[in-house]
Amino acid sequence: MSIILNRKKISEAVTGYLFISPWLIIFTIFSVVSLVYAFYLSFTSYNLLKPPQLWGLEGYQRVFDDDLFLVKALPNTFKYVIIVVPIQTLLSLILAFAMDQKLRLQRFFRTLFYLPSVTSSVVISLIFIWIFAPQGIFNQITGLTINWLDNPRTAFYVIMGMNIFTTSGTLMLIFLAGLQDVSTSIYEAAQIDGANPIQTFVYITIPMLRPVIFFVVTVGIIGCFQVFDQIYVMTAGGPLDSTTTVTYLIYKWAFRDTTIKMGQASALAVILTFIILSITLIQRSIIEGSGSSAES
Protein backbone atom coordinates (compact mmCIF):
# COMPACT_ATOMS: atom_id res chain seq x y z
CA MET A 1 0.00 0.00 0.00
CA SER A 2 2.57 2.51 1.11
CA ILE A 3 4.79 1.49 -1.79
CA ILE A 4 1.97 2.19 -4.21
CA LEU A 5 1.35 5.51 -2.53
CA ASN A 6 5.03 6.32 -2.70
CA ARG A 7 5.24 5.40 -6.34
CA LYS A 8 2.26 7.58 -7.02
CA LYS A 9 3.90 10.43 -5.14
CA ILE A 10 7.13 10.04 -7.09
CA SER A 11 5.36 9.95 -10.42
CA GLU A 12 3.40 13.03 -9.39
CA ALA A 13 6.64 14.81 -8.50
CA VAL A 14 8.20 13.85 -11.82
CA THR A 15 5.14 15.11 -13.69
CA GLY A 16 5.27 18.33 -11.71
CA TYR A 17 8.88 18.94 -12.63
CA LEU A 18 8.23 18.11 -16.28
CA PHE A 19 5.47 20.70 -16.28
CA ILE A 20 7.58 23.45 -14.78
CA SER A 21 10.95 22.53 -16.34
CA PRO A 22 10.88 24.69 -19.51
CA TRP A 23 9.94 27.69 -17.42
CA LEU A 24 12.16 26.76 -14.49
CA ILE A 25 15.34 26.38 -16.55
CA ILE A 26 15.00 29.75 -18.26
CA PHE A 27 13.76 31.46 -15.11
CA THR A 28 16.68 30.10 -13.10
CA ILE A 29 19.20 31.30 -15.67
CA PHE A 30 17.82 34.76 -16.37
CA SER A 31 16.24 35.64 -13.03
CA VAL A 32 17.96 33.69 -10.24
CA VAL A 33 21.52 33.25 -11.53
CA SER A 34 21.37 36.74 -13.06
CA LEU A 35 20.33 38.28 -9.76
CA VAL A 36 23.06 36.53 -7.78
CA TYR A 37 25.63 37.35 -10.45
CA ALA A 38 24.56 41.01 -10.44
CA PHE A 39 25.49 41.22 -6.75
CA TYR A 40 28.79 39.41 -7.35
CA LEU A 41 29.62 41.67 -10.28
CA SER A 42 28.97 44.75 -8.16
CA PHE A 43 32.01 43.85 -6.03
CA THR A 44 34.30 43.46 -9.03
CA SER A 45 36.05 45.46 -11.68
CA TYR A 46 35.04 44.16 -15.09
CA ASN A 47 35.71 45.64 -18.53
CA LEU A 48 34.89 42.53 -20.62
CA LEU A 49 38.54 42.16 -21.65
CA LYS A 50 39.89 40.49 -18.51
CA PRO A 51 37.88 38.26 -16.13
CA PRO A 52 36.08 40.12 -13.32
CA GLN A 53 38.49 41.10 -10.51
CA LEU A 54 37.10 41.25 -6.98
CA TRP A 55 37.75 44.65 -5.45
CA GLY A 56 35.30 44.81 -2.56
CA LEU A 57 33.40 48.03 -2.14
CA GLU A 58 35.61 50.01 -4.52
CA GLY A 59 32.85 49.98 -7.20
CA TYR A 60 30.32 51.44 -4.75
CA GLN A 61 32.89 54.01 -3.63
CA ARG A 62 33.43 55.05 -7.23
CA VAL A 63 29.69 55.37 -7.81
CA PHE A 64 29.42 57.81 -4.93
CA ASP A 65 32.55 59.68 -6.04
CA ASP A 66 31.12 60.14 -9.51
CA ASP A 67 29.79 63.63 -10.17
CA LEU A 68 27.57 62.50 -13.01
CA PHE A 69 25.80 60.20 -10.56
CA LEU A 70 25.75 62.46 -7.51
CA VAL A 71 25.02 65.80 -9.16
CA LYS A 72 22.99 64.72 -12.18
CA ALA A 73 21.60 61.17 -12.36
CA LEU A 74 20.45 60.74 -8.76
CA PRO A 75 18.76 64.15 -8.32
CA ASN A 76 17.29 63.93 -11.82
CA THR A 77 15.77 60.53 -11.12
CA PHE A 78 14.22 61.66 -7.84
CA LYS A 79 12.94 64.80 -9.50
CA TYR A 80 11.41 62.70 -12.24
CA VAL A 81 9.67 60.36 -9.78
CA ILE A 82 8.46 63.19 -7.52
CA ILE A 83 6.93 65.10 -10.42
CA VAL A 84 5.64 62.30 -12.63
CA VAL A 85 4.14 59.84 -10.12
CA PRO A 86 1.73 62.24 -8.32
CA ILE A 87 0.62 63.96 -11.53
CA GLN A 88 -0.02 60.77 -13.49
CA THR A 89 -1.83 59.20 -10.52
CA LEU A 90 -4.08 62.19 -9.90
CA LEU A 91 -4.71 62.79 -13.58
CA SER A 92 -5.68 59.20 -14.29
CA LEU A 93 -7.86 59.17 -11.17
CA ILE A 94 -9.71 62.27 -12.33
CA LEU A 95 -10.12 60.83 -15.82
CA ALA A 96 -11.45 57.57 -14.39
CA PHE A 97 -13.83 59.48 -12.11
CA ALA A 98 -15.14 61.47 -15.08
CA MET A 99 -15.51 58.25 -17.06
CA ASP A 100 -17.47 56.66 -14.23
CA GLN A 101 -20.27 59.25 -14.37
CA LYS A 102 -22.46 57.08 -16.60
CA LEU A 103 -22.04 59.51 -19.46
CA ARG A 104 -22.77 58.60 -23.03
CA LEU A 105 -19.94 57.39 -25.30
CA GLN A 106 -18.08 55.95 -22.33
CA ARG A 107 -16.62 53.09 -24.36
CA PHE A 108 -15.60 55.48 -27.12
CA PHE A 109 -13.67 57.69 -24.69
CA ARG A 110 -12.13 54.69 -22.99
CA THR A 111 -10.69 53.54 -26.30
CA LEU A 112 -9.51 57.03 -27.15
CA PHE A 113 -7.71 57.46 -23.82
CA TYR A 114 -5.89 54.20 -24.26
CA LEU A 115 -4.40 55.20 -27.64
CA PRO A 116 -1.18 56.76 -26.27
CA SER A 117 -0.55 53.59 -24.26
CA VAL A 118 -0.75 51.40 -27.37
CA THR A 119 2.03 53.41 -29.03
CA SER A 120 5.52 52.12 -28.28
CA SER A 121 7.93 54.20 -26.22
CA VAL A 122 10.26 54.63 -29.19
CA VAL A 123 7.54 55.68 -31.59
CA ILE A 124 5.98 58.20 -29.23
CA SER A 125 9.47 59.57 -28.51
CA LEU A 126 10.21 59.92 -32.23
CA ILE A 127 6.89 61.73 -32.69
CA PHE A 128 7.54 64.07 -29.75
CA ILE A 129 11.05 64.91 -31.02
CA TRP A 130 9.41 66.10 -34.20
CA ILE A 131 6.49 67.89 -32.50
CA PHE A 132 8.89 69.74 -30.15
CA ALA A 133 11.49 70.54 -32.81
CA PRO A 134 12.34 74.26 -33.23
CA GLN A 135 10.01 74.51 -36.27
CA GLY A 136 7.77 71.73 -34.94
CA ILE A 137 4.03 71.68 -34.54
CA PHE A 138 4.09 72.70 -30.87
CA ASN A 139 5.95 75.93 -31.59
CA GLN A 140 3.78 76.52 -34.65
CA ILE A 141 0.57 76.25 -32.63
CA THR A 142 1.77 78.22 -29.61
CA GLY A 143 3.89 80.76 -31.51
CA LEU A 144 6.88 80.04 -29.26
CA THR A 145 10.44 79.68 -30.56
CA ILE A 146 11.95 77.45 -27.89
CA ASN A 147 14.28 74.63 -28.86
CA TRP A 148 12.67 72.38 -26.27
CA LEU A 149 14.90 69.32 -26.39
CA ASP A 150 18.18 71.23 -26.77
CA ASN A 151 17.55 73.41 -23.77
CA PRO A 152 18.70 72.00 -20.41
CA ARG A 153 15.89 73.91 -18.70
CA THR A 154 13.07 72.40 -20.77
CA ALA A 155 14.18 69.01 -22.16
CA PHE A 156 13.48 66.97 -19.03
CA TYR A 157 10.02 68.49 -18.62
CA VAL A 158 9.07 67.56 -22.18
CA ILE A 159 10.02 63.95 -21.43
CA MET A 160 8.10 64.04 -18.14
CA GLY A 161 5.03 65.49 -19.81
CA MET A 162 5.19 62.90 -22.56
CA ASN A 163 5.40 60.01 -20.12
CA ILE A 164 2.55 61.35 -18.00
CA PHE A 165 0.57 61.59 -21.21
CA THR A 166 1.32 58.02 -22.34
CA THR A 167 0.84 56.22 -19.01
CA SER A 168 -2.35 57.97 -17.93
CA GLY A 169 -4.49 55.84 -20.25
CA THR A 170 -3.40 52.56 -18.70
CA LEU A 171 -3.62 53.87 -15.16
CA MET A 172 -7.07 55.30 -15.90
CA LEU A 173 -8.26 51.81 -16.87
CA ILE A 174 -6.96 50.37 -13.60
CA PHE A 175 -8.76 53.07 -11.61
CA LEU A 176 -11.91 52.65 -13.66
CA ALA A 177 -12.04 48.95 -12.83
CA GLY A 178 -11.54 49.82 -9.16
CA LEU A 179 -14.28 52.46 -9.28
CA GLN A 180 -16.73 50.04 -10.80
CA ASP A 181 -16.10 47.70 -7.87
CA VAL A 182 -17.25 50.38 -5.41
CA SER A 183 -20.89 49.59 -4.85
CA THR A 184 -23.39 52.15 -6.07
CA SER A 185 -25.37 51.92 -2.84
CA ILE A 186 -22.59 53.81 -1.05
CA TYR A 187 -22.82 56.62 -3.59
CA GLU A 188 -26.59 56.68 -3.26
CA ALA A 189 -26.33 56.89 0.51
CA ALA A 190 -23.89 59.79 0.15
CA GLN A 191 -26.23 61.53 -2.25
CA ILE A 192 -29.16 61.18 0.16
CA ASP A 193 -26.97 62.69 2.87
CA GLY A 194 -26.47 65.63 0.52
CA ALA A 195 -22.81 65.16 -0.41
CA ASN A 196 -21.66 67.06 -3.50
CA PRO A 197 -19.44 65.37 -6.11
CA ILE A 198 -16.22 66.80 -4.68
CA GLN A 199 -17.11 65.58 -1.19
CA THR A 200 -18.06 62.20 -2.65
CA PHE A 201 -14.73 62.04 -4.45
CA VAL A 202 -12.65 63.01 -1.41
CA TYR A 203 -14.53 61.13 1.32
CA ILE A 204 -15.78 58.03 -0.50
CA THR A 205 -13.98 57.40 -3.78
CA ILE A 206 -10.42 57.94 -2.58
CA PRO A 207 -10.69 55.90 0.67
CA MET A 208 -12.49 53.05 -1.13
CA LEU A 209 -9.79 53.01 -3.80
CA ARG A 210 -6.87 52.88 -1.36
CA PRO A 211 -5.57 49.45 -2.50
CA VAL A 212 -5.80 50.45 -6.15
CA ILE A 213 -4.06 53.75 -5.45
CA PHE A 214 -1.31 51.84 -3.67
CA PHE A 215 -0.92 49.61 -6.70
CA VAL A 216 -0.84 52.49 -9.18
CA VAL A 217 1.67 54.47 -7.12
CA THR A 218 3.89 51.41 -6.66
CA VAL A 219 3.87 50.58 -10.36
CA GLY A 220 4.50 54.26 -11.08
CA ILE A 221 7.47 54.48 -8.72
CA ILE A 222 9.07 51.28 -10.02
CA GLY A 223 8.57 52.36 -13.62
CA CYS A 224 9.72 55.93 -13.16
CA PHE A 225 12.92 54.97 -11.35
CA GLN A 226 13.85 52.89 -14.39
CA VAL A 227 12.94 55.34 -17.15
CA PHE A 228 15.25 54.67 -20.09
CA ASP A 229 13.78 54.30 -23.61
CA GLN A 230 12.52 57.86 -23.91
CA ILE A 231 15.77 59.31 -22.54
CA TYR A 232 17.84 57.22 -24.94
CA VAL A 233 15.80 58.17 -27.99
CA MET A 234 15.03 61.81 -27.24
CA THR A 235 18.12 63.27 -25.58
CA ALA A 236 20.69 60.52 -24.85
CA GLY A 237 21.01 62.05 -21.39
CA GLY A 238 21.70 65.58 -22.65
CA PRO A 239 21.69 68.52 -23.06
CA LEU A 240 24.44 69.10 -20.45
CA ASP A 241 23.41 65.83 -18.72
CA SER A 242 20.13 67.47 -17.70
CA THR A 243 18.15 64.31 -18.55
CA THR A 244 20.66 61.68 -17.40
CA THR A 245 18.84 59.28 -15.09
CA VAL A 246 20.21 56.41 -13.02
CA THR A 247 19.13 53.71 -15.47
CA TYR A 248 20.57 55.67 -18.36
CA LEU A 249 23.83 55.99 -16.42
CA ILE A 250 23.91 52.22 -15.83
CA TYR A 251 23.52 51.71 -19.56
CA LYS A 252 26.18 54.33 -20.30
CA TRP A 253 28.76 52.80 -17.97
CA ALA A 254 28.10 49.20 -18.99
CA PHE A 255 27.59 49.52 -22.72
CA ARG A 256 28.30 52.95 -24.14
CA ASP A 257 31.41 54.50 -22.59
CA THR A 258 34.74 53.89 -24.28
CA THR A 259 36.05 52.21 -21.13
CA ILE A 260 33.38 49.71 -20.17
CA LYS A 261 32.67 49.62 -16.43
CA MET A 262 30.37 46.64 -15.92
CA GLY A 263 31.28 46.21 -12.23
CA GLN A 264 30.64 49.82 -11.36
CA ALA A 265 27.42 49.77 -13.41
CA SER A 266 26.30 46.67 -11.50
CA ALA A 267 27.01 48.42 -8.21
CA LEU A 268 24.77 51.25 -9.34
CA ALA A 269 22.08 48.74 -10.40
CA VAL A 270 22.20 47.19 -6.91
CA ILE A 271 21.96 50.65 -5.30
CA LEU A 272 18.96 51.47 -7.49
CA THR A 273 17.32 48.17 -6.53
CA PHE A 274 17.70 49.00 -2.84
CA ILE A 275 16.31 52.49 -3.37
CA ILE A 276 13.26 51.14 -5.20
CA LEU A 277 12.64 48.32 -2.70
CA SER A 278 12.93 50.55 0.35
CA ILE A 279 10.69 53.25 -1.09
CA THR A 280 7.97 50.76 -2.01
CA LEU A 281 8.19 49.22 1.48
CA ILE A 282 7.99 52.62 3.21
CA GLN A 283 5.09 53.59 0.99
CA ARG A 284 3.30 50.33 1.77
CA SER A 285 3.68 50.83 5.53
CA ILE A 286 2.42 54.43 5.26
CA ILE A 287 -0.66 53.45 3.28
CA GLU A 288 -1.42 50.42 5.44
CA GLY A 289 -0.82 52.46 8.59
CA SER A 290 -3.20 55.22 7.56
CA GLY A 291 -5.70 52.58 6.53
CA SER A 292 -5.84 50.88 9.93
CA SER A 293 -6.10 54.18 11.83
CA ALA A 294 -8.97 55.28 9.62
CA GLU A 295 -10.82 52.05 10.25
CA SER A 296 -10.40 51.99 14.04
Binding site: S31, A38, L115, V118, S120, Y232, T280
Partner: protein
Protein backbone atom coordinates in the same frame (compact mmCIF):
# COMPACT_ATOMS: atom_id res chain seq x y z
CA UNK B 1 -47.77 74.87 -0.11
CA UNK B 2 -44.63 76.73 0.85
CA UNK B 3 -42.91 73.47 1.60
CA UNK B 4 -43.62 72.11 -1.85
CA UNK B 5 -42.27 75.26 -3.61
CA UNK B 6 -39.11 75.00 -1.55
CA UNK B 7 -38.84 71.39 -2.57
CA UNK B 8 -39.32 72.12 -6.24
CA UNK B 9 -36.79 74.94 -6.07
CA UNK B 10 -34.39 72.49 -4.45
CA UNK B 11 -35.00 69.97 -7.16
CA UNK B 12 -34.42 72.66 -9.77
CA UNK B 13 -31.12 73.55 -8.16
CA UNK B 14 -29.89 69.97 -8.07
CA UNK B 15 -30.98 69.48 -11.66
CA UNK B 16 -29.04 72.58 -12.71
CA UNK B 17 -26.00 71.51 -10.69
CA UNK B 18 -26.22 68.09 -12.29
CA UNK B 19 -26.31 69.66 -15.73
CA UNK B 20 -23.26 71.83 -15.05
CA UNK B 21 -21.45 68.84 -13.66
CA UNK B 22 -22.21 66.78 -16.76
CA UNK B 23 -20.95 69.55 -19.02
CA UNK B 24 -17.77 69.80 -16.94
CA UNK B 25 -17.16 66.06 -17.13
CA UNK B 26 -17.80 66.01 -20.87
CA UNK B 27 -15.36 68.89 -21.26
CA UNK B 28 -12.67 66.92 -19.42
CA UNK B 29 -13.31 63.83 -21.52
CA UNK B 30 -13.35 65.67 -24.83
CA UNK B 31 -10.21 67.66 -24.01
CA UNK B 32 -8.24 64.58 -23.03
CA UNK B 33 -9.68 62.60 -25.93
CA UNK B 34 -8.45 65.19 -28.43
CA UNK B 35 -5.05 65.29 -26.75
CA UNK B 36 -4.84 61.49 -26.88
CA UNK B 37 -5.42 61.30 -30.58
CA UNK B 38 -3.34 64.36 -31.56
CA UNK B 39 0.13 62.74 -31.92
CA UNK B 40 -1.27 59.94 -34.03
CA UNK B 41 -3.28 62.33 -36.16
CA UNK B 42 -0.33 64.63 -36.85
CA UNK B 43 1.85 61.62 -37.65
CA UNK B 44 -0.68 60.43 -40.20
CA UNK B 45 -1.02 63.90 -41.76
CA UNK B 46 2.70 64.49 -42.15
CA UNK B 47 3.45 60.96 -43.33
CA UNK B 48 1.24 61.86 -46.30
CA UNK B 49 3.14 65.06 -47.06
CA UNK B 50 6.42 65.37 -49.02
CA UNK B 51 9.70 64.93 -47.16
CA UNK B 52 10.56 68.57 -47.81
CA UNK B 53 7.41 69.64 -45.92
CA UNK B 54 8.24 67.89 -42.64
CA UNK B 55 7.92 71.18 -40.73
CA UNK B 56 5.76 73.15 -43.14
CA UNK B 57 2.15 74.15 -42.46
CA UNK B 58 -0.70 73.36 -42.92
CA UNK B 59 -0.59 70.97 -40.00
CA UNK B 60 -4.24 69.90 -40.02
CA UNK B 61 -4.50 68.46 -43.51
CA UNK B 62 -2.04 66.62 -45.82
CA UNK B 63 -1.54 69.15 -48.60
CA UNK B 64 0.33 68.66 -50.85
CA UNK B 65 -0.59 65.00 -50.71
CA UNK B 66 1.86 62.23 -51.57
CA UNK B 67 2.40 58.52 -50.94
CA UNK B 68 6.16 58.80 -51.53
CA UNK B 69 7.09 58.08 -47.92
CA UNK B 70 5.20 54.80 -47.97
CA UNK B 71 6.82 53.92 -51.27
CA UNK B 72 10.22 54.53 -49.70
CA UNK B 73 9.37 52.17 -46.88
CA UNK B 74 7.88 49.35 -48.88
CA UNK B 75 9.98 49.50 -52.05
CA UNK B 76 13.08 51.69 -52.04
CA UNK B 77 14.52 51.07 -48.62
CA UNK B 78 14.72 47.29 -48.43
CA UNK B 79 15.42 47.15 -44.69
CA UNK B 80 11.96 48.35 -43.62
CA UNK B 81 10.04 45.23 -44.71
CA UNK B 82 12.72 43.13 -43.01
CA UNK B 83 12.33 45.01 -39.75
CA UNK B 84 8.57 44.51 -39.87
CA UNK B 85 9.07 40.81 -40.52
CA UNK B 86 11.67 40.51 -37.73
CA UNK B 87 9.30 42.21 -35.32
CA UNK B 88 6.46 39.89 -36.26
CA UNK B 89 8.46 36.68 -35.91
CA UNK B 90 10.11 37.68 -32.64
CA UNK B 91 6.89 38.93 -31.01
CA UNK B 92 4.85 35.91 -32.11
CA UNK B 93 7.53 33.48 -30.89
CA UNK B 94 7.84 35.18 -27.52
CA UNK B 95 4.06 35.23 -27.09
CA UNK B 96 3.44 31.58 -27.95
CA UNK B 97 6.35 30.24 -25.91
CA UNK B 98 5.70 32.42 -22.89
CA UNK B 99 2.00 31.56 -22.77
CA UNK B 100 2.73 27.84 -23.09
CA UNK B 101 5.53 27.77 -20.50
CA UNK B 102 3.65 29.96 -18.04
CA UNK B 103 0.44 27.94 -18.41
CA UNK B 104 2.32 24.68 -17.82
CA UNK B 105 4.16 26.01 -14.78
CA UNK B 106 1.11 27.80 -13.40
CA UNK B 107 -0.96 24.65 -13.69
CA UNK B 108 1.70 22.62 -11.90
CA UNK B 109 1.98 25.15 -9.07
CA UNK B 110 -1.80 25.16 -8.64
CA UNK B 111 -2.50 21.43 -8.94
CA UNK B 112 0.49 19.12 -8.68
CA UNK B 113 2.53 18.34 -5.59
CA UNK B 114 6.26 18.18 -6.03
CA UNK B 115 9.20 18.73 -3.69
CA UNK B 116 10.48 22.31 -3.21
CA UNK B 117 7.29 23.67 -4.75
CA UNK B 118 6.89 26.34 -2.09
CA UNK B 119 10.56 27.23 -2.20
CA UNK B 120 10.47 27.74 -5.96
CA UNK B 121 7.25 29.73 -5.74
CA UNK B 122 8.75 31.99 -3.07
CA UNK B 123 11.75 32.52 -5.31
CA UNK B 124 9.30 33.59 -7.98
CA UNK B 125 7.64 36.06 -5.63
CA UNK B 126 11.00 37.56 -4.63
CA UNK B 127 12.07 37.95 -8.24
CA UNK B 128 8.78 39.73 -9.00
CA UNK B 129 9.82 42.47 -6.56
CA UNK B 130 13.17 43.01 -8.27
CA UNK B 131 13.36 45.86 -10.77
CA UNK B 132 14.28 44.59 -14.22
CA UNK B 133 17.38 46.74 -14.53
CA UNK B 134 19.32 44.75 -11.90
CA UNK B 135 19.47 41.60 -14.07
CA UNK B 136 20.18 43.49 -17.27
CA UNK B 137 23.98 43.22 -17.29
CA UNK B 138 24.18 39.54 -16.24
CA UNK B 139 21.44 38.62 -18.74
CA UNK B 140 23.44 40.34 -21.45
CA UNK B 141 26.57 38.41 -20.45
CA UNK B 142 24.62 35.12 -20.47
CA UNK B 143 23.16 35.77 -23.91
CA UNK B 144 26.51 36.98 -25.18
CA UNK B 145 30.10 36.35 -24.15
CA UNK B 146 29.29 34.34 -21.02
CA UNK B 147 29.46 35.01 -17.30
CA UNK B 148 32.98 33.66 -17.31
CA UNK B 149 34.72 34.43 -20.56
CA UNK B 150 35.98 31.27 -22.24
CA UNK B 151 33.88 29.01 -20.04
CA UNK B 152 34.72 26.80 -17.08
CA UNK B 153 37.47 24.26 -17.83
CA UNK B 154 36.56 20.73 -16.69
CA UNK B 155 39.15 18.18 -17.71
CA UNK B 156 39.25 18.20 -21.50
CA UNK B 157 35.96 20.01 -21.74
CA UNK B 158 35.08 23.62 -21.20
CA UNK B 159 31.59 24.37 -20.00
CA UNK B 160 30.34 27.54 -21.69
CA UNK B 161 28.64 30.14 -19.48
CA UNK B 162 26.99 32.03 -22.29
CA UNK B 163 24.77 31.22 -25.25
CA UNK B 164 26.71 33.28 -27.80
CA UNK B 165 23.46 34.61 -29.24
CA UNK B 166 24.36 38.28 -29.67
CA UNK B 167 22.90 39.68 -32.89
CA UNK B 168 20.42 36.82 -33.35
CA UNK B 169 16.62 36.74 -32.99
CA UNK B 170 16.98 33.87 -30.50
CA UNK B 171 18.97 36.16 -28.22
CA UNK B 172 16.07 38.60 -28.16
CA UNK B 173 13.46 35.87 -27.66
CA UNK B 174 15.04 33.64 -25.02
CA UNK B 175 14.92 35.76 -21.82
CA UNK B 176 11.37 36.89 -22.65
CA UNK B 177 9.70 33.48 -22.65
CA UNK B 178 9.88 32.69 -18.93
CA UNK B 179 9.29 35.26 -16.24
CA UNK B 180 7.79 35.41 -12.78
CA UNK B 181 4.71 37.52 -13.46
CA UNK B 182 3.24 35.28 -16.18
CA UNK B 183 3.48 32.20 -13.98
CA UNK B 184 2.09 34.07 -10.98
CA UNK B 185 -0.88 35.17 -13.06
CA UNK B 186 -1.57 31.65 -14.37
CA UNK B 187 -1.13 30.07 -10.93
CA UNK B 188 -3.69 32.44 -9.42
CA UNK B 189 -6.00 31.67 -12.30
CA UNK B 190 -5.80 27.88 -11.99
CA UNK B 191 -6.14 28.05 -8.20
CA UNK B 192 -9.47 29.82 -8.55
CA UNK B 193 -10.58 27.37 -11.19
CA UNK B 194 -12.97 24.46 -10.40
CA UNK B 195 -11.28 21.05 -10.35
CA UNK B 196 -14.33 18.92 -11.22
CA UNK B 197 -13.84 18.79 -14.99
CA UNK B 198 -10.20 17.77 -14.69
CA UNK B 199 -11.00 15.18 -12.08
CA UNK B 200 -13.67 13.68 -14.28
CA UNK B 201 -11.18 13.47 -17.14
CA UNK B 202 -8.56 11.88 -14.87
CA UNK B 203 -11.15 9.34 -13.72
CA UNK B 204 -11.72 8.44 -17.34
CA UNK B 205 -8.08 7.52 -17.57
CA UNK B 206 -6.55 10.67 -19.07
CA UNK B 207 -3.11 11.29 -17.61
CA UNK B 208 -1.96 14.71 -16.45
CA UNK B 209 -0.70 15.63 -19.91
CA UNK B 210 -3.82 14.47 -21.68
CA UNK B 211 -5.99 16.35 -19.22
CA UNK B 212 -3.84 19.44 -19.56
CA UNK B 213 -3.92 19.45 -23.35
CA UNK B 214 -7.54 18.40 -23.88
CA UNK B 215 -9.32 19.97 -20.92
CA UNK B 216 -7.25 22.60 -19.13
CA UNK B 217 -5.83 24.54 -22.08
CA UNK B 218 -9.13 24.83 -24.00
CA UNK B 219 -11.00 25.88 -20.89
CA UNK B 220 -8.48 28.57 -19.99
CA UNK B 221 -8.25 30.04 -23.48
CA UNK B 222 -9.57 33.45 -22.38
CA UNK B 223 -6.82 33.75 -19.80
CA UNK B 224 -4.22 32.46 -22.25
CA UNK B 225 -5.30 34.97 -24.86
CA UNK B 226 -5.10 37.76 -22.28
CA UNK B 227 -1.55 36.82 -21.31
CA UNK B 228 -0.65 36.32 -24.97
CA UNK B 229 -1.88 39.76 -25.99
CA UNK B 230 -0.09 41.41 -23.08
CA UNK B 231 3.10 39.58 -24.05
CA UNK B 232 2.74 40.47 -27.71
CA UNK B 233 2.34 44.14 -26.89
CA UNK B 234 5.41 44.07 -24.67
CA UNK B 235 7.55 42.23 -27.21
CA UNK B 236 6.33 44.29 -30.16
CA UNK B 237 7.19 47.55 -28.41
CA UNK B 238 10.28 46.33 -26.55
CA UNK B 239 13.32 48.55 -26.95
CA UNK B 240 16.06 48.20 -24.34
CA UNK B 241 16.77 44.49 -24.65
CA UNK B 242 16.83 44.24 -28.47
CA UNK B 243 18.94 47.40 -28.45
CA UNK B 244 21.62 45.56 -26.46
CA UNK B 245 21.40 42.27 -28.36
CA UNK B 246 21.01 43.33 -32.00
CA UNK B 247 23.90 44.94 -33.91
CA UNK B 248 23.37 44.38 -37.65
CA UNK B 249 20.63 46.50 -39.29
CA UNK B 250 19.39 43.40 -41.14
CA UNK B 251 18.35 41.83 -37.83
CA UNK B 252 16.76 44.91 -36.24
CA UNK B 253 13.21 44.93 -34.99
CA UNK B 254 11.01 47.82 -36.07
CA UNK B 255 11.52 50.07 -32.98
CA UNK B 256 15.32 49.63 -33.13
CA UNK B 257 15.25 50.10 -36.88
CA UNK B 258 13.20 53.30 -36.70
CA UNK B 259 15.55 54.77 -34.10
CA UNK B 260 18.57 53.78 -36.22
CA UNK B 261 17.01 55.13 -39.41
CA UNK B 262 16.33 58.45 -37.68
CA UNK B 263 20.02 58.69 -36.80
CA UNK B 264 21.26 57.77 -40.28
CA UNK B 265 18.77 59.76 -42.38
CA UNK B 266 17.63 62.57 -40.12
CA UNK B 267 16.48 64.69 -43.04
CA UNK B 268 13.87 62.07 -43.95
CA UNK B 269 11.69 62.58 -40.88
CA UNK B 270 8.47 62.12 -42.83
CA UNK B 271 9.68 58.61 -43.68
CA UNK B 272 10.29 58.00 -39.96
CA UNK B 273 6.71 59.11 -39.27
CA UNK B 274 5.31 56.83 -41.98
CA UNK B 275 7.43 53.97 -40.69
CA UNK B 276 6.27 54.55 -37.13
CA UNK B 277 2.70 53.92 -38.25
CA UNK B 278 3.76 50.39 -39.20
CA UNK B 279 4.67 49.93 -35.55
CA UNK B 280 1.54 51.59 -34.16
CA UNK B 281 -1.24 50.48 -36.51
CA UNK B 282 -0.95 46.69 -36.09
CA UNK B 283 -1.01 47.14 -32.31
CA UNK B 284 -3.97 49.48 -32.65
CA UNK B 285 -5.92 46.97 -34.74
CA UNK B 286 -5.15 44.19 -32.29
CA UNK B 287 -6.28 46.46 -29.49
CA UNK B 288 -9.57 47.25 -31.22
CA UNK B 289 -10.31 43.61 -31.98
CA UNK B 290 -9.39 42.28 -28.53
CA UNK B 291 -10.27 45.35 -26.53
CA UNK B 292 -12.10 43.56 -23.75
CA UNK B 293 -9.14 41.24 -23.13
CA UNK B 294 -6.79 44.18 -22.78
CA UNK B 295 -9.12 45.94 -20.41
CA UNK B 296 -9.64 42.74 -18.45
CA UNK B 297 -5.91 42.17 -18.08
CA UNK B 298 -5.19 45.73 -17.02
CA UNK B 299 -8.12 45.82 -14.64
CA UNK B 300 -7.08 42.52 -13.08
CA UNK B 301 -3.54 43.76 -12.37
CA UNK B 302 -5.05 46.47 -10.18
CA UNK B 303 -7.49 44.43 -8.15
CA UNK B 304 -4.92 41.69 -7.51
CA UNK B 305 -3.09 43.86 -5.00
CA UNK B 306 -6.25 44.63 -3.10
Amino acid sequence: MSISTAQSRDAEWTARAGKIRRILFYAILIFWGLLSIAPLYFTLVFSLKPVADTYTPPIWWPTPFTLNNYETILKTFHLFPRWIWNSVTISVSVSILRVLFCAMAGYAFARINFPFKNFIFNLLLVSMMMPGVVTLIPSFLIIGPGLIRGGIPLGNLTIPTGFNLIDTPAGVILPGVADAFGVFMMTQFYKSFPRELEEAAMMDGSGRWGTFLRIVLPISQTQLLTLGLLTFQGAWNNFMWPLLVLRTPEFFTLPIGLQWFRGEYYTLYSVVLAGSLFNTLPMLIIFFVFQRYFIRSIASTGSKEG
